[in-house]
Subunit: 269 residues, 2 copies
Amino acid sequence: MPPYDPSAYPPFAVTVDLVVLTVRRHALCTLIVKRGEPPFQGRWALPGGFVREGEDLGAAAARELIEETGLRAHDPGDPPPVPGNGAHLEQLATYGAPDRDPRMRVVSVAHLALAPDLPAPRAGGDANSARWATVGELLGEDGPVGGEGATGGGTEGEGGPGGGAEPLAFDHAQILADGVERARSKIEYSSLATAFCPPEFTVGELRRVYEAVWGVALDPRNFHRKVTGTPGFLVPAGGTTTRQGGRPAQLFRAGGATLLNPPMLRPEV
Amino acid sequence: MPPYDPSAYPPFAVTVDLVVLTVRRHALCTLIVKRGEPPFQGRWALPGGFVREGEDLGAAAARELIEETGLRAHDPGDPPPVPGNGAHLEQLATYGAPDRDPRMRVVSVAHLALAPDLPAPRAGGDANSARWATVGELLGEDGPVGGEGATGGGTEGEGGPGGGAEPLAFDHAQILADGVERARSKIEYSSLATAFCPPEFTVGELRRVYEAVWGVALDPRNFHRKVTGTPGFLVPAGGTTTRQGGRPAQLFRAGGATLLNPPMLRPEV
DNA sequence: CGTGTTTATCGTCAGGGAGACGACTATGAT
DNA sequence: ATCATAGTCGTCTCCCTGACGATAAACACG
């Protein structure tokens, strides 16, 4: 290696971008914000921002998450003290193609956040510049889960009605795709799907999370056997609820186990 | 978000660090280089260097890999045209703690490379400033595989004889640990273990790779049944070899499958 | 040249987990 | 009362895995 040369330290800007996933109305959704300035002004993008001096990467991601959603992140290591409105946050990957930002050389450390369903997004006070979009809408994955699927309801807000919407700014479509794939694969072998649920939830609610993230229908009986039979996955919370209609369901809380062995199997094809 | 402020773009240096793993003498080994200048002068570290202007992150990692080992990286996407001396290379994670480099703010995008056994390391022409070290030696994992284990042989070179050696520079011990864990988990559900093997290899050689990476002993009969029974994992290469002694073994080549379903199960406990 | 050693490869058998699906329970809606 | 909806328990079969016996084909010795 030649001796160090000052010209060997080209300056970079470092940002964090967030793939914030949640499950809303049986569909996997992600938070997007409307860009207020060039480049890509007026286009939708993943939330994010510059890493500050003296700020750790994970801290920058957690700060952005709070700014955009109010969610407090908890580290993957320690179990969430109050799983209430905390989100799982982990590093996803880093994107640094030389031309990914026309202004300057920017390296973005993307993070993945999994959050329970939230009332409404807030974008630093600006209301309609942030929204939840279904992943299928952004990535062109057309394939509803079962009957009505993701395009149901009626208050779909803006965006294209049927087909794919305008693509995300920068390389954010790729980042989103990577984040979704990470989430889809990680709920297979970890208990991370509970991060999409409120502090107390039923087996059916957890199953609907899996169905929304994977985009498949699961057998309620086999799912129930699997999750209740995996030690440490779920612990009974005591009560029951009937908020889904039908027979009251037992309430559970996320157990201490983080790795599922054997894993949940995503149905093939 | 407040309007953009030039002070919000603190300058960073961006580097790539490499966790190059291989299997040598039944032990999982990684490439380390001796630092020639401060900080951590004289200490061992992972190979790496600064990302150049206009250079992609993956390209920088591939360039460093060639500089340090002569190995050409092939992307995970396309199958290696000639699996000869090509290495698997993928992004691992990014490390950017504010104080990880005392000189300046440095964000390092670590990459993981898996390579077949190589004759000898070369460090940009400097011979004895690079070496293969066993992962157990660097991370303090003491637990030989079966009989003699990793500390066998005699030409162990420099470094501490028995116990743990001097810790790696910077946060490279953490990076190495993360890379090893990635490799250990990824050979479970992918055919990546073949990246440790020469272009043609036997089932026994592949089994010894698994044993070295996981640090366990596997049943040869069940392993043989598993890998030969998984479609697309191995394709017969035609010949046989006896380079391991004993009955001649059939030669195989890595098949097209990249994901193993069901996965190879790492024995617990 | 036989014997032991080493490695490869084929078979067998029992146990566990998962998919498919039947049956029953408990609530609200009509 | 009846139906629709959801939850929960059981059963059955198939496949995979782990444990392990047995055979095959090379080499190293005497």
